[in-house]
């Protein structure tokens, strides 16, 4: 009686002479490995050589500055509201006279913290942001031994003023725009 479709008839087949002397099979195997010897390796030597990330990759957040080097964030708190993991906290402050070159609008975030252990990297903060201030980048969050070190403040999040310290998010920006367009249609 056949119980399943997967049962197999066992055969105790004797090897033929050519199979028993092994040599043809060995030569065939050696030819196979020799073909691989001349094939190009696909290895990427990681720390020296980095592969480009796809625009959908969501890593370490960045708080953007505008072209004049002023912080975009106005501490409206929409990102914190949108965050499903409740990883974002901030304290707002009013811009003083003489700080116009630091902050774009009258209100800014004096403290902005993301707990990277809480964050689930969903990207809802950047979708919620009305000022194009926060983006998730293709940078990998560095590892650490202490939980406290994973609460990233503004020192870890805001990009530098100098051109070489700016973090390019155009690819990600375009991706978000396309996504929003698709959703409105």
């Amino acid at each position: 009686m056949q119980l399943t479709q997967r049962s197999k008839q066992v055969v105790n087949k004797q090897m033929t002479f050519t199979e028993r002397i092994y040599l043809p099979a060995i030569l065939k195997g050696m030819f196979t490995t020799l073909k691989h010897f001349f094939r190009r390796s696909n290895t990427i030597s990681y720390p020296k050589q980095k592969r480009e990330f796809a625009p959908v990759y969501r890593g370490w957040h960045v708080l953007k500055r505008d072209a004049q080097g002023r912080e975009n964030c106005t501490a409206c708190g929409l990102c914190a509201v949108a965050c499903p993991a409740e990883a974002i906290t901030m304290e707002a402050a009013e811009r003083q006279k003489g700080e116009e070159n630091l902050y774009r609008e009258e209100k800014y975030a004096a403290v902005y913290e993301i707990n990277m252990l809480r964050c689930i990297f969903c990207g809802l903060c950047e979708e919620a942001c009305p000022k194009e201030a926060i983006f998730l980048t293709d940078r990998i969050v560095p590892s650490d031994y202490v939980r406290q070190e994973f609460i990233f403040g503004k020192d870890m999040l805001v990009e530098g003023v100098e051109p070489e310290k700016r973090i390019d998010v155009t690819k990600r920006q375009r991706h978000i725009q396309e996504k929003k367009q698709r959703e409105t249609i």
């Binding site: 040599l23 060995i26 195997g29 050696m30 196979t32 490995t33 020799l34 691989h36 010897f37 094939r39 190009r40 390796s41 696909n42 290895t43 030597s45």
Partner: protein
């Protein structure tokens, strides 16, 4: 006794000492770079890159490995037989290094009017000397495995010794056919008879295959690496070894491979002879160059085989050795004998 030594030719002693030093250095160098070559070839056969960080293309990797081996903790197990445990790696590498003494590396080297014989000693039983020392290699493995007082080491040692003894029979029998053809046990004579295309492999194809398989088994290399068997026996006979003692074992295995490739080149592929190339060119340097080209080719083949074939099962190994290779070697010997009798050489 010292008067006897004084009677000898000082120039010759100096020459031989120099040659021994050079061969020693080259053997160790080739063995060290065999480890690098092994890893590179394995990587290329598996579509990887292999060691690439130490120096350009990773060519300083053997140095890094050596430094690592020297600086690791030198551990001696509490229940081991201490003296034998220390003696074993030394015995193994000593035996491996001794075999290079009778290899004819070339004809004569002309250095500023001096004629250097490129063979340490041309004893008339050269090949027997090599076989003798190769069979002594079992002692290093057996002592190491037994003195470690570890069941895996002992298993590995027992497997290695039974395997080496079994395959030495077929090896010796296939060798007899070559000796019948050349009529001499001296390696120099055997090589000198293979000028041009008169390589022994053309007259002894079956003998060559038997010898190659036996050489793989003698070196304890895949597909016959029963002595090490990472999957079953952890590391085989050197499970308990660490630091440079382990390094000696691994090193000696690569030296054995180098010497096996040299012997195969000399016995079956004409040694320093190549059709159209006079070994006396470049003041005698052409002979060693040709020989080393052949040796490196065979080292590559050994590695290529290792990274292609899976390991034999123990019963398959014994079956192949006793029931296939020995009868075939006897048949080969009989055919060669009949051939020599009927047509001369």
């Amino acid at each position: 006794m010292f008067d006897m030594i004084l009677l000898y030719d000082y120039v010759m002693i100096a020459q031989k000492a120099g040659l021994i030093g050079v061969i020693f250095a080259i053997t160790l160098g080739v063995a060290a770079y065999s480890t690098y070559g092994e890893r590179k070839i394995a990587a290329f056969l598996q579509d990887r890159l292999g060691p690439s960080n130490a120096g350009p293309w990773g060519i300083l990797q053997p140095l890094a490995d050596g430094v690592k081996m020297f600086t690791k903790e030198d551990f001696i197990p509490n229940q081991s037989n201490r003296w034998l445990y220390i003696l074993a790696p030394g015995a193994f590498i000593f035996v491996a290094l001794m075999t290079s003494a009778v290899i004819p590396w070339g004809t004569t080297l002309t250095l500023g009017g001096l004629n250097l014989d490129l063979q340490v000693t041309n004893i008339n039983i050269g090949i027997l000397y090599i076989m003798g020392f190769v069979s002594l290699g079992v002692y290093g493995i057996m002592l190491g495995g037994w003195a470690s007082n570890n069941k895996y080491s002992l298993y590995g040692a027992i497997r290695a010794s039974s395997q080496m003894i079994s395959y030495e029979l077929a090896m010796g029998l296939s060798l007899i056919a070559v000796i019948m053809l050349s009529g001499s046990l001296s390696l120099r004579t055997i090589v000198e008879q293979q000028t041009g295309f008169g390589w022994n492999v053309l007259y002894q194809p079956l003998g060559f295959i038997i010898f190659l398989v036996c050489a793989l088994a003698e070196c304890n290399r895949a597909p016959f690496d029963m002595a090490e068997c990472e999957t079953e026996l952890i590391g085989g006979y050197h499970t308990e070894y660490s630091a440079m003692k382990l390094g000696f074992f691994l090193f000696a295995e690569y030296i054995n491979m180098f010497i096996s490739c040299t012997v195969i080149s000399c016995l079956y592929f004409g040694g320093y002879n190549f059709p159209g190339v006079d070994p006396g060119w470049l003041g005698g340097l052409m002979g060693p160059i040709v020989l080393f080209a052949k040796i490196f080719f065979f080292i590559f083949v050994f590695m290529w085989i290792r990274w292609t074939l899976p390991r034999f099962r123990y019963d398959q190994l014994m079956h192949l050795g006793w029931k296939s290779l020995i009868p075939l070697a006897v048949l080969n010997m009989l055919l060669t004998g009949a051939g020599v009798l009927l047509w001369g050489k």
